[in-house]
């Protein structure tokens, strides 16, 4: 635990010795700020003359402002997250410092958790920005439950944490930071796009009539699994409801398990270094 903390601290501090930390925090604050201002102004206009914007009554705050904005923040992390994760292990390998890291008395899990902890630290910095925005909402928008706003921040955090765990894994299998960053972004983006496309998937597929019954059953079973994966796996899907303050244990569990899965794989990658004998 103490070692995990030491690794985490060193990694987190080095974000801010190099410009990476400032760039990530600054760009996140800038873009999320623009997004926040734009959606806040849009929401204000819509509440003043709902009919002009196609609403029948005062538009629902959570549904029209809060949730889309928070999911937007999560997706923003998708774009700048690779900057946070790409260096974590790839850079150690590239600079040779992995030889120190791996010959110091550290367990593999201490390395993985320490590195992930540092990335989560960067995420917390970004969440501080979102928290300020939520404070603005709480101050200006009447009848908003602070708990809903709090859940909102937690949602973005969970979504970001899931992204970062995947990024850490990619960083562990690459040696070059650019490769790591690009591959991470590609992976995230593809899963995001597939998620959007999967919303249009039909409930069942039409199969040729001359297929035998068991083939039909197997095919439709396969399709239903594919469909549930395609609709449930993408990271933003589970955030949409959560961001409106609808907190479901399975959504939280989804993010926790998602992160745990990639951390587990990263740990395995570190261990295979020793299998490759």
């Amino acid at each position: 635990m103490r070692n995990t903390w030491a690794v985490c601290k060193r990694e987190f501090v080095s974000y801010f010795i190099t410009p990476v930390g400032y760039v990530v925090a600054g760009v996140f604050a800038l873009i999320s700020g623009i997004g926040f201002a734009a959606s806040f102004i849009g929401y204000a206009r819509a509440t003043q003359s709902p009919s002009a914007y196609g609403y029948t009554g005062v538009p629902d705050f959570e549904e029209t402002l809060l949730s889309p904005f928070l999911v937007f923040c999560g997706l923003l992390i998708m774009f700048i997250g690779p900057l946070v994760t790409m260096r974590l292990l790839a850079e150690e390998k590239n600079r040779g410092t992995a030889e120190l890291l791996l010959t110091h008395p550290l367990r593999n899990r201490e390395i993985v958790f320490g590195k992930y902890g540092a990335a989560l630290g960067m995420l917390l910095v970004m969440m501080a920005v979102v928290s300020i925005q939520m404070a603005v909402v709480w101050y200006f928008v009447p009848h908003v439950e602070p708990a809903v706003l709090g859940f909102g921040v937690i949602t973005v955090f969970l979504m970001g944490a899931a992204f970062l765990s995947m990024g850490l894994f990619v960083s562990s299998i690459t040696r070059n930071q650019v490769t790591a960053g690009t591959a991470t972004f590609g992976l995230w983006f593809v899963s995001y796009v597939l998620g959007s496309l999967s919303r249009d998937l039909p409930d069942a597929i039409a199969l040729p009539e001359n297929w035998s019954p068991w083939a039909v059953r197997a095919a439709s079973f396969g399709y239903s699994i594919f469909r549930s994966l395609a609709t449930e796996l993408p990271l933003d899907v589970h955030a949409q409801e959560m961001a409106q303050g609808v907190l479901q244990p399975e959504d939280i569990l989804y993010y926790v398990l998602f992160s745990a899965f990639w951390l587990f794989l990263t740990l395995r990658v570190l261990e295979t270094r020793l299998w490759r004998a």
């Binding site: 070692n3 060193r10 600079r95 040779g96 030889e99 120190l100 010959t103 110091h104 008395p105």
Partner: protein, 311 residues
């Protein structure tokens, strides 16, 4: 303290080291010699747990490097060949981080960092960014991080490569001092370094060990003969006749005009016998000295024999 038994490491089809076995007693300073690409770094990496052996076992202080990696790593200070460091960190912070990982807390940590910086002559560089230091100082930082926590075993992979002559002398002196309280495994291909620092030598070539002995045995007489070089004035035939009469002389060869190489029995009095005989026969002896093998001779012989075997 360090025991390797039949260590073999394959990279794909190629064996980087094959059947390497040797051991180092506590308190010994061992020179680990070999030409570039002989498998030195691979062997050290297996010992430090950076990679594993395909076959064979490596133990440090009785702990197997595979089964008890943490116990082994606690007892080893390792200076990798390329001296990888976090270049963006300042010296004191970096050493503090290493001390933290090695389990030192609070005041102890500050004290230990101070101690190793003092020891490696880094105290006046404590606040400098590592990336801005010269190669020599970076090497010292690398050595300092290996020394933190005072591990009983030090494994140093080519610690003087790329330094200027003065820095080389400084680092060597530092290693010599360290040798008094640590078991040191020093890998290098610079032979005088070993001659100066080490008590025993292990020579590795193309992945296997070709020689292993104490410095004295390797560099000294091999036991079954003595070889002298002498500058002698006078007629060559007469000198040959004189020398051939001396009891114990086996062979006389002429190296250059007036310069002879005399091979004799391993008799202690050979020097006196040769001089007396030559002086009695009225040959002027300008210079008579015994030829001791330098480490270079040993090295080239061992490696030559190895490559000869393979050919």
């Amino acid at each position: 303290m360090i025991v390797l038994t039949g260590v073999t490491k394959y990279y794909g089809q190629i064996a980087a080291v094959e059947g390497v076995s040797f051991s180092v007693e506590a308190g010994e300073v061992i020179g680990f010699l070999g030409p570039n690409g002989a498998g030195k770094t691979t062997t050290l990496r297996i010992l430090t747990g950076f990679t594993t052996a395909s076959r064979g076992t490596a133990k440090i202080a009785g702990f197997d490097v595979n089964d008890h990696p943490i116990e082994v790593k606690r007892r080893v200070g390792y200076l990798p060949e390329s001296v990888p460091l976090y270049r963006e960190m300042i010296v004191r912070k970096f050493l503090g981080y290493v001390a933290e990982i090695k389990g030192l807390q609070g005041k102890k940590r500050v004290h230990e960092v101070g101690r190793v910086m003092e020891r490696c002559g880094l105290s006046h560089m404590a606040g400098r960014t590592i990336g801005n230091l010269s190669k020599g100082y970076r090497q010292r930082v690398g050595l300092a991080q290996a020394l933190i926590g005072n591990p009983p075993v030090l494994i140093l992979d080519e610690p003087t490569v790329g330094l200027d002559p003065r820095q080389i002398v400084e680092i060597r002196d530092m290693i010599k001092n360290l040798a008094q309280e640590h078991t040191v495994l020093l890998s290098t291909h610079i032979l005088p370094e070993v001659a100066m620092v080490c008590e025993r030598v292990v020579i590795i070539n193309r992945g296997h060990i070709v020689a292993e002995d104490s410095m004295a045995n390797l560099a000294g007489v091999s036991g079954d003969k003595r070889v002298f070089d002498a500058d002698i004035l006078g007629d060559e035939t007469a000198i040959r006749i004189t020398l051939a009469d001396v009891h114990g002389v086996r062979d006389v060869a002429v190296e250059a005009k007036g310069r002879y190489r005399i091979t004799t029995d391993p008799d202690e009095r050979m020097g006196v016998l040769l001089t007396t005989a030559l002086v009695r026969a009225n040959h002027g002896v300008e210079n008579l000295r015994e030829r001791t093998r330098t480490l270079e001779d040993v090295f080239i012989e061992a490696i030559g024999a190895d490559e000869g075997d393979a050919a």
